[in-house]
């Protein structure tokens, strides 16, 4: 009997096969080959220039000026007063990232539950309406659109309407990340254990009570974890939206680059690295609290 079972089991073992993953890998590799072919067939691709001495001499010259070795005056990153100048932009950058993360948090908290399929389609309770279905598709489309457009493009657009400063940068960062955190949080709700919600509903709770007492507490840690992870990404991107007119380190970076003050750029990057590390540590600490 046992041997019989073992035999039939071994017969049922799946044959090694190229599954969907394998096909996708092959497709990706052909796409990669086509891409490289497209890039390298362009004589201005810059590939050949990497094999020329002048290119590396130029890069070396840039590095010398970046680090400020044998310059006329000491490099900016060795002067205390230049570090002091960085406090303002660093503060603005941190504020921008927090403002963006707050916007994302509030926006997602308001929208993520109607954007979950199981809530909208009434899988958790018998009640669902046509309007909740419309709302579901509407919010999901907004999520897709805002996250499909990169932060920098949002910033370029928003700078047409809002005055330069922290706010346009924060709005641009907020919009893109709203789409990402919104989608992820809605998926958290979709993957929740539906039984507590159904039990509450069966015990006579209203739709709103069910969402508030069964769904929200279970979904909140997931939402917070994603939000905090995105905060780490946001702080890295603040410098980029700063390039197009939002304030902070990005604007300083752009100015120093266009004035060829490369040791200032080195100093800015050092400050930026410290900020990134600081935010990573804060976020890791808070994610531990959220669990």
């Amino acid at each position: 009997m046992n041997r019989q079972a073992a035999l039939s089991q071994s017969a049922a073992l799946p044959k090694p096969r190229i599954g969907f993953g394998g096909i996708s890998l092959i497709l990706f590799m052909s796409l990669a080959a086509a891409s490289w072919d497209f890039i390298l067939s362009d004589k201005d691709s810059g590939f050949a220039s990497f094999f020329r001495v002048e290119t590396w001499a130029g890069a070396g010259a840039f590095l010398t000026r970046f680090l400020g070795v044998n310059g006329a005056e000491p490099p900016a990153y060795l002067r205390r007063e230049r570090w002091a100048d960085m406090v303002g932009p660093a503060y603005e950058t941190l504020a921008m990232s927090l403002l963006a993360a707050s916007m994302v948090g509030i926006g997602v908290l308001v929208t993520f539950m109607p954007a979950a399929r199981n809530v909208a389609m009434g899988e958790l309770s018998a009640s669902h309406s046509f309007s909740s279905r419309i709302l579901f598709f509407l919010i999901r489309s907004v999520y897709i659109f805002v996250r499909g457009v990169p932060e920098l493009v949002w910033a370029m657009l928003i700078i047409f309407f809002l005055s330069p400063g922290i706010l346009p940068g924060a709005v641009a960062l907020g919009l893109h990340n709203f789409g990402i955190v919104g989608k992820l949080s809605a998926e958290v709700v979709e993957n929740l254990d539906p039984r507590p919600a159904r039990a509450l509903r069966a015990a006579g709770a209203s739709q709103l009570q069910m969402l508030a007492y069964a769904i929200l507490p279970m979904a909140l840690p997931g939402f917070l974890t994603y939000l905090l992870y995105r905060w780490e990404v946001i702080i890295r991107t603040t410098i980029v939206v700063g390039f197009v007119g939002a304030g902070g380190l990005g604007r300083e970076f752009r100015l120093s680059m266009s004035w060829f003050q490369y040791t200032d750029v080195a100093l800015l990057l050092a400050v930026y690295l410290f900020l990134v590390i600081f935010v990573d540590l804060c976020s890791a600490w808070m994610r531990k609290l959220a669990r």
Partner: protein
């Protein structure tokens, strides 16, 4: 027993609220928050969504730019894997058997990976364009560096997290750490490595689009040009192309992930 007020969640709520309130105070509230004429420009921009530019010549340009962006993203992904996978293997410390060697390889390489991914791809791109000259290759390299850093970190974690029992079986049978890796760890981790790679590929398309900021051709470049010319209808067409590529790749990568997880 913990008191109610020192419980992690309560601290977190307070910290988040404080951060939010503080961030609100940093906005210069006032009338000049919106440009003079900013409201009008906004209305013009939004109404232009109803009349996207659909002339065949423009669509052709948008299509070419989309392919450029996709090609740059894909090419830089292959470089990112070439950087991230070997570093990830070393950073996972799975090939070193002695504790000392393992710890140095883990912490040393993780520090490098952290540095690579801390600096945004566009910052790398700008530095590379200044150092090597403006060319698509400078952009592709710039994209590959932070992506290599992220892939390396995640790959290291994935390689560490595989089930240990089959690996022990291989070791007991006398396999070296290399063979354990080749026949146990790597095949078991492959689905996760693939699905994360696909996810990153999706992100790299957005990143490739913004490389245009330093002058590299693609969708972002056209968007920038159309914005400078105030041709909002063209901007909407280009945004639609952008979102369409992202949605296509995203659905593909979702499918891959779902199939590989099953």
């Amino acid at each position: 027993m913990k008191s109610r007020f020192t419980e992690g969640r309560n601290i977190l709520t307070l910290v988040l609220l404080a951060a939010f309130v503080w961030s609100l105070t940093t906005i210069p509230w006032g009338e000049d928050l919106i440009h003079a004429g900013g409201g009008q420009a906004f209305v013009q921009f939004v109404t232009a969504a109803l009349t996207p530019e659909l002339s065949p010549t423009f669509l052709q340009r948008a299509l070419l730019a989309s392919w450029q962006t996709l090609a740059y993203a894909t090419a830089s992904m292959t470089l990112a894997i070439a950087i991230g996978f070997p570093l990830g293997v070393v950073a996972s410390g799975v090939l070193a058997r002695r504790a000392g060697a393992r710890l140095t390889s883990i912490y040393g390489v993780r520090l490098i990976l952290a540095f690579l991914r801390s600096i945004h791809e566009l910052v790398w791109a700008w530095l590379f364009v200044v150092a090597f000259g403006l060319s698509p290759m400078a952009g592709i390299l710039a994209l590959a560096i932070p992506y290599g850093g992220i892939l390396g970190r995640v790959y290291a974690e994935v390689l560490q997290d595989v089930p240990q029992a089959p690996l022990h079986a291989l070791r007991v049978a006398g396999a070296s750490e290399w063979k354990v890796f080749l026949y146990g760890r790597f095949p078991m981790a492959l689905p996760d490595l693939l699905s994360y790679g696909f996810y990153r590929w999706e992100c790299s398309i957005r990143s490739a689009a913004i490389l245009s900021f330093v002058g590299i051709p693609g969708l972002g470049y056209l968007i920038q040009v159309s914005l400078i010319d105030l041709k909002y209808s063209q901007v909407w067409t280009l945004l639609a192309f952008m979102v369409a590529i992202i949605v296509l790749v995203e659905s593909w990568s979702n499918l891959v992930r779902r199939r590989l997880a099953a």
